[in-house]
Symmetry: C2
Subunit: 420 residues, 2 copies
Amino acid sequence: MATSPPGAGRPITRGIVLNRIRSARTISRIKLAADCGLNPATITQVVRELISHGLVVEVGHGASTGGKRPTLLQLNPHSRYAVGVLFERNTCVVVIVDLTGRQIARTSFPGTALLPPDRALSVLATHVNALVGTAGVDRDDVLGVGLVTYGPQQQRTGTLLTHQPTTEWFGYPVAPRLSELLGLPVLLDNDAAAAAIGEYWLGAVEPRTYGCIYMASGIGGGVVVDGEVYRGTSSNGVEIGHITIDTNGGPCDCGNFGCLGNYADPSAVIKQAMASGLGQRLGLDPADTDVMTAFGRIATAANAGDPTAGALITASARHLGTAAVTMASLFDLDLIVLAGPSLAASGIYRTVIEEEVRRRTFARRAHPVRVVTSVSGSDAAAVGGAVLVLQSELAALRLGSQPQGRHDANGSGRLLPFDT
Amino acid sequence: MATSPPGAGRPITRGIVLNRIRSARTISRIKLAADCGLNPATITQVVRELISHGLVVEVGHGASTGGKRPTLLQLNPHSRYAVGVLFERNTCVVVIVDLTGRQIARTSFPGTALLPPDRALSVLATHVNALVGTAGVDRDDVLGVGLVTYGPQQQRTGTLLTHQPTTEWFGYPVAPRLSELLGLPVLLDNDAAAAAIGEYWLGAVEPRTYGCIYMASGIGGGVVVDGEVYRGTSSNGVEIGHITIDTNGGPCDCGNFGCLGNYADPSAVIKQAMASGLGQRLGLDPADTDVMTAFGRIATAANAGDPTAGALITASARHLGTAAVTMASLFDLDLIVLAGPSLAASGIYRTVIEEEVRRRTFARRAHPVRVVTSVSGSDAAAVGGAVLVLQSELAALRLGSQPQGRHDANGSGRLLPFDT
């Protein structure tokens, strides 16, 4: 617990002020004080510090509200950067965003399949280093890397608590190891939570409270409340892929039974396609580990009017609709964003999920629930990962205190956010 | 949006300060400033106001942290009161709490069955007036009434958006009408959300983030995040009674299908008891609208070792366990409290729900999930309703501004929190 009131110079205060300027885009000092719940003297001091570090600039004047026209502030976009990495077996996306959260560089590669953790992270580090190099970003200006992937996770130690894709990954220190390889701080977070916050920064979402359903190889979810990711006890929330939709259903690898994923995710749809003969017709190989490509072929066939493929994608969408209704009824949402490459593969998803949500959500008489498709397909998660770095206390620490030689703060060249 | 920084004298600032003193029980000004994110000058001024209104008192000194020993503040319990009302067809509980949230009076009656809204609210008002009278509380010291019941609700207008128990209730202005009858402000809220916050104030719950499953005639849920009720878009969240647990299940009155309530709530268990012959054996009348009494007989038989009754209650508990797993996996909870008279009817519920949650929750490797029984049975919702009044902006408005003639603020003798 804090022992003195929030004041100028404390990293947490700097973080609050920066995040508010970022989300407002331009803002006056007086509005900033009101929005942050800080007194004007504190704001004046914090803003002076941020300007002296080159993070904030003055950009003209706003309209008068009676007295002098207020000076407007905004972030200096090119003063600092963050990297976002979506990392999963079948697809990896790396982006660099500037201090305002705008994407300035991007690369992707097909994932690291079943490579062991050490080799997979080494491949990933090579791609990150290459992108930082080609983007012409000074490494000293990179605040950190947001590594986003599936859960469960232990964010405190930067480890995965899952045997996916192979048993070697369970408990492996993915974030500390990547940090070591890159010489940059690395935060571990949930891909669907990152996608939810990424949608907001990519401009798809106006309301500040909304849900996100994310489907790549698996299904995940994220909820943003008043502009911040809903965290719960351990940042392992909104796992809609593993809620029971069939109380008579079979066991799932996760320990639960009748889970949504077993009826609706790409692997489930591929199995159904093989059982119906569609898989053979489309030339799918059930032994292929690249489920997203196989799933993409089924979705493309559905979009082209193939009735068997259409029925399978529609059934998957109805099951996702059930989970969307549960999510909307529990979190009381009026907006759900569909993100991730597998949901982007067919327009059937949005149509069917919206139908289910409109018809079945408990509070539909209090307010409608809209369902929209992500503006960014597979990029929302990676952009969100980078934005989570910008919003983090880690960034606030690194931003304000080291105008020169920022990497030498703890003598090791980097600030590790983990218990080691 | 606020146009000036939070400062002394603004109702919202008073509310923040009062809520912090309430939850801390005793606290120094410096700690209060730090916890509320306000500067010491503001705190000094707000506390001076609160002391002058008789709401806060100084109670000795805390330990020194280097300098002078700080003066400790606490609420003056008998300066103001709030009423909480749990209102449903088959049971009503009315409580009065003091400014610290401690219950000082209580009454209950068997509900208003199928009475039309006007007559039902008139019966309720008589009970509230009688309790205020016998408790010896000055009516001018009552901040308001927290009326808690099932949803969906439109809290802004104080109306129910449901046809339960009869169609006349849909859109009926329950809170404005009760306010008129009592001459007191009335806030409408969700019973399960109130039970969740009530558990905290009744001392059952230490962690600040937890879930609550509530079962009386129906099933509801509430989640408290960092000491505050999770609200979502319209305060109609956590409706676990109406999430699909069986994708092949039949339609529910709510518009969804395969809903938890149809498998696990008292009416469902009574139907199952009639089908199995147990109902006849226990002398239940399926036409009786008092489902809680009938359900109580089945639970009592289960507790006494009747195998048929035991199997029915266990099946109900397993289905609730599925919903508890969904709730824990979506909100990432490490504690679930079971509240409400129907869950209190048998210890089978806690045992079975905990088993399911331990085995099936997604993030169980990140942290365990405990399941505990409410300390207060059916009272948590009513106490929570009263506490929500204390925590509301309404209370903050009425607390600070009217040391005399508090009811004359808007000329009508009461402050209506509704859009009328």
